[in-house]
């Protein structure tokens, strides 16, 4: 019964996410001033950066649940860790996509190795894609949960290590680095950015609850089917 009471909050959460995303879009396009340097193409900043931050949050959440799983050995945490990493990968892909569009608009190329953040997300994307390969090639059970949890923990360590490595590499791979530092953000720009960030975080959380509810329902139906067979 607790599951259904938890799930009853999902529509409200989804509505809140939709409303916030709507407000964020309105603020970004109608209230925040256009960037003097980059013009309209700078608007993607309000989505690209919050999406990237949300992806990090999802990976961190997945790793936290993985740690809890290894500690308490409760199956619930395994599923929550998986769903967190799944959403992190979705948001990570969106970061690559929006970053690529922004790179085309401001630097004229779809991909540039000199943008450290984009390279980091590519490495992370490959790392977490392998997480799914691993997870789906082990039979369901405590063994799979253990392996997934350990690999998820590697991920949170890989983020700072890779970030640092890519910074180091840019010294010998690209001596000239494009600078993304434009003029300082004005108050309204910063406000729009924060609303957009909040909107995407709530959206990610709503998606997390929906996917979790679906996965739990799946497991429940499977149990019932086994009981009937």
């Amino acid at each position: 019964m607790s599951t259904s009471s938890r799930n009853s909050r999902v529509p409200a959460l989804a509505a809140l996410a939709a409303a916030l995303v709507g407000v964020a879009i309105a603020l970004v396009f109608f209230v925040a001033p256009e960037d003097a340097d980059q013009g309209i193409s700078q608007k993607i900043f309000y989505f690209h950066v919050p999406i990237a931050l949300t992806a990090y949050a999802c990976f961190g959440w997945g790793a936290l649940k993985a740690l809890l799983y290894l500690w308490r050995k409760d199956e619930r945490y395994d599923l929550e860790s998986y769903v967190g990493i799944h959403l992190g990968t979705v948001f990570g892909s969106l970061t690559l996509l929006t970053g690529s569009i922004w790179a085309k608009a401001s630097w004229g190329v779809w991909w540039t190795w000199s943008s450290n953040q984009l390279v980091l997300f590519l490495v992370l994307f490959l790392f977490y894609a392998a997480y799914f390969m691993l997870r789906f090639s082990v039979d369901e059970g405590p063994r799979r949960a253990n392996l997934s949890a350990v690999y998820a923990l590697f991920g949170v360590v890989l983020v700072p290590v890779s970030f640092f490595a890519i910074r180091l590499a840019s010294d010998f791979i690209h001596p000239t680095v494009f600078s993304r530092q434009g003029p300082q953000m004005s108050g309204t720009m910063f406000f729009a950015f924060c609303v957009s960030w909040a909107a995407l975080t709530v959206l990610a959380y709503a998606l997390y609850r929906v996917e979790l509810a679906g996965k739990r329902l799946d497991a429940h139906v499977r149990d019932l089917r086994e009981a009937l067979a």
Binding site: L70, V123, L124, L126, F127, A129, A130, M133, L134, S137, V138, D139, G141, P142, R143, N146, L147, A149, V150, Y151, L153, F154, V157, L158, V161, S162, F164, A165, I166, L168, A169, D171, F172
Partner: protein, 213 residues
């Protein structure tokens, strides 16, 4: 502490003895790295310079290590030794440390031949470059052995190991190439040492969960 180290030494010696008797991994790794150098000769167009060759050395090293890592748990898996090892009255992390030590010994043995061969075929390596290789070896073996144990537990086995390993090896390649070609290699060597320490601790602490349920 001494009994822990004795366990590690026993486990590592078992792997080395197995290899000395069967001789299936080392010759394969050696032939692989030498064939890779020949492929590089034709892959590098004339005049592409020594820096490109230094970078390719790391491709050869990482893939040779992968070849050895993919086989690293094969004797345990094929002989059904895993359960026995897990039940043995020793700390589980000793199993990882013993295996990582043995794999490190293989990798160093290969490099004793491969690095002079690289110097002969392409370009000489200075002390910093060799130090970079040595430090990266530790990281490759620490992380690789744990991931190989994960891969051994999965259905896809050897197929999945490179996918798990390569994203984690990217920082090692950065450190290794940087220590070979940068005018100030100190930072890169320090970074490699940091990587080794951080990942060795995580692997040491988490290995138990990889082999038990």
């Amino acid at each position: 502490m001494t009994s822990y180290l004795a366990d590690v030494a026993t486990l590592a010696r078992k792997d080395l003895r197995l290899e000395l008797r069967a001789r299936d991994t080392l010759p394969a790794m050696l032939l692989f790295v030498l064939s890779t150098f020949v492929v590089f000769h034709f892959a590098l167009p004339q005049g592409s310079g020594e820096t490109a060759a230094q970078g390719l050395l790391w491709v050869a090293l990482v893939f040779t290590a992968l070849l050895g890592l993919a086989r690293s748990w094969a004797p345990e898996r094929e002989g059904g030794v895993f359960d026995g090892l897990v039940l043995a009255p020793c700390d589980r992390s000793a199993i990882w440390l013993g295996k990582a030590t043995a794999v490190l010994a293989f990798l160093v043995a290969i490099e004793v031949v491969a690095l002079p061969a690289f110097a002969l075929f392409f370009t000489g390596l200075d002390a910093q470059a060799v130090a970079g290789v040595a430090l990266a070896d530790v990281g490759i073996c620490a992380v690789g052995t744990l991931l190989a144990a994960m891969a051994a537990a999965s259905r896809t086995r050897e197929l999945i190991l490179p996918l798990l390993f390569l994203p984690l090896a990217v920082p090692l390649v950065v450190g290794g190439v940087g220590s070979a070609i940068s005018p100030e290699p100190g930072r890169y060597l320090l970074f490699l040492a940091l990587y080794d320490a951080v990942f060795a601790i995580i692997c040491w602490a988490s290995f138990e969960y990889v082999v038990t349920e």
